[in-house]
Amino acid sequence: MAKKVALMQGNEACAHGALYAGCNFFAGYPITPSTEVAEVLSNELPKVGGKFIQMEDEIGATAALIGAALTGAKALDATSGPGMSLKQELIGYACIAEVPCVIVNVQRGGPSTGMPTGPGQSDMQQAMWGTHGDHAAIAISPASCQEIYEETVRAFNLAEKYRMPVQLQLDEICAHMREPVTFPEPGELEVIDREAPTVSPEDYKPYDDSQGQIPPLASFGSGYRYHVTGLNKAADGFPTTKAELVDAEERRQIAKVMDNLDDILKNEEYQLEDAEVVLFAYGSTSRSARYAVNELRKEGIKAGLFRPITVWPFPDERVAELAEQAKAIVCPEMNLGQMVREVERVAKGACLVSHIGRVDGEPINPGQIIDRVKEVL
């Protein structure tokens, strides 16, 4: 039987990807340009026995998300700029309490209300540093409707596996455009569920890392009684101010991500083998960059594209190699200089790093990129 193919918006693809991943809980608050995610799930979740709740505000949505996730639910929340700002405290809560969940941020113009229907990529540093306190982050920026579907599944997998919030950093262009999406068959994409504890309820400690960096998470209501708090805590989940315990816990929570980059990082490389100029681009902007690479190659200019799909953690190692290889790295982004800071940090001056920023609500078009590449060469 032929696979189901449907033309759909990126936001709709996200909702269907979530369902494929086993998402059974959505909490959200209406905000443009993310509402289609909620609309689709309000319709689809009850069909599979899942739950949809529209909360009273953005903070409440993330609170309900975490509460549901602690009962074992695979939970999704979708929002956009201002909503993401409101959620930051609880994203930190999900980090320290180590609760798996997925939060979609359909980036629009900003700051503040900005341009609700205009695209942006200006929450990229927020995805890493938005919540207070040291922590690790995983964020993913897909570039097509098909990829949004598949990366939503991967976002759930990473959340479940690493027991933490994962952010899907979409942009308004990817979220609202429509493309054909081929629905994968059951079993075709890997679906990971969180590890359940093997110890008895009496012996369970929710942050005990003696068996590995990522302690299993028991679901509320499954026979295990334990304590969850946003305070710094010891392995047993109870608050502590003992310096060595606090330090060890904080470091473990970052190490569980940074020690597993091979599993978490994902990039696309296009025409990079002999590239003299590397375009570093993600999300919808990477499509302009790819178009530009093709045009530049026609003119004999050795351009290539490096597209991080996992944007946080940052692919330090590979970008450093490319900086050694290339004469220049050009970074088009719909912001005034966010991920380019990481490129510059990693390139350490090995090549020229040139930023193309745009915040007028218009996408960066291939012509802009082509012109800049010719300038820097």
């Binding site: 193919v5 449907a6 033309l7 443009t32 340009p33 609700p116 229907t117 262009i173 990817c174 609202h176 455009m177 429509r178 493309e179 054909p180 919808s284 499509r287 302009s288 790819r290 178009y291 093709n294 996408p363 078009n365 291939p366 012509g367």
Partner: protein, 182 residues
């Protein structure tokens, strides 16, 4: 058709032109298996103003998802024409509603004028199908998908009770353009 082909539908908000774009993209991608991307302009108003829907169709992958320079453009109203009938490829096509776009822009493109809204209102009796008339007209004008593919995509979207109405609208739009170009 390896190269990208870009089509813009524009008119007043509420005229169903976003849907027309979606159906065209479905005809190209779901029915004919090509690549297609549809996108649209969003304003704060749900009705009125000027709205546009753009479709890019290609045999190969589509990188840049927005229109660069369009091969064909439809304007249903003067406001939409003034705002969106630009960036047309030299030698491209401009399809206008004959009654609602009195001031025809000049440029290096072929203008085809068809009474789209009048056809919907008077000949079919339902203004709501003007977008399907427009879709038939655009497919006749550009040949970007086969006539049957467009019709199949239209019919897959409408309830049984409205299939005849929409088929009639689609065919009429198609024939009007064929007659105008003959």
């Amino acid at each position: 058709m390896a190269e990208r082909y870009e089509i813009r539908f524009s008119g007043a908000g509420g005229q169903g032109l976003i849907t027309a774009g979606i159906i065209l993209a479905e005809a190209a991608s779901i029915v004919e298996g090509k690549s297609a991307v549809q996108s649209q302009s969003y304003g704060p108003e749900a009705r009125g103003g000027a709205s546009k829907s753009e479709v890019i169709i290609s045999d190969g992958p589509i990188d840049y998802p927005k229109a660069t320079i369009v091969d064909a453009c439809l304007a249903m109203t003067q406001v939409a024409c003034d705002k969106y009938a630009n960036g047309i490829k030299p030698g491209g096509l401009l399809l206008l509603d004959e009654d609602f776009v009195p001031n025809v822009p000049e440029g290096d493109f072929k203008v085809v004028r068809v009474p789209i809204m009048r056809t919907a209102q008077e000949e079919i009796g339902r203004a709501i199908v003007a977008n399907v008339v427009a879709l038939g007209a655009m497919i006749a004008l550009t040949g970007v998908v086969a006539k049957e593919s467009g019709l199949k995509a239209v019919l897959s979207r409408v309830p049984e009770a409205f299939k005849d109405l929409n088929e009639k609208a689609y065919n009429m739009g198609f024939e009007k353009v064929k007659a105008a170009m003959a």
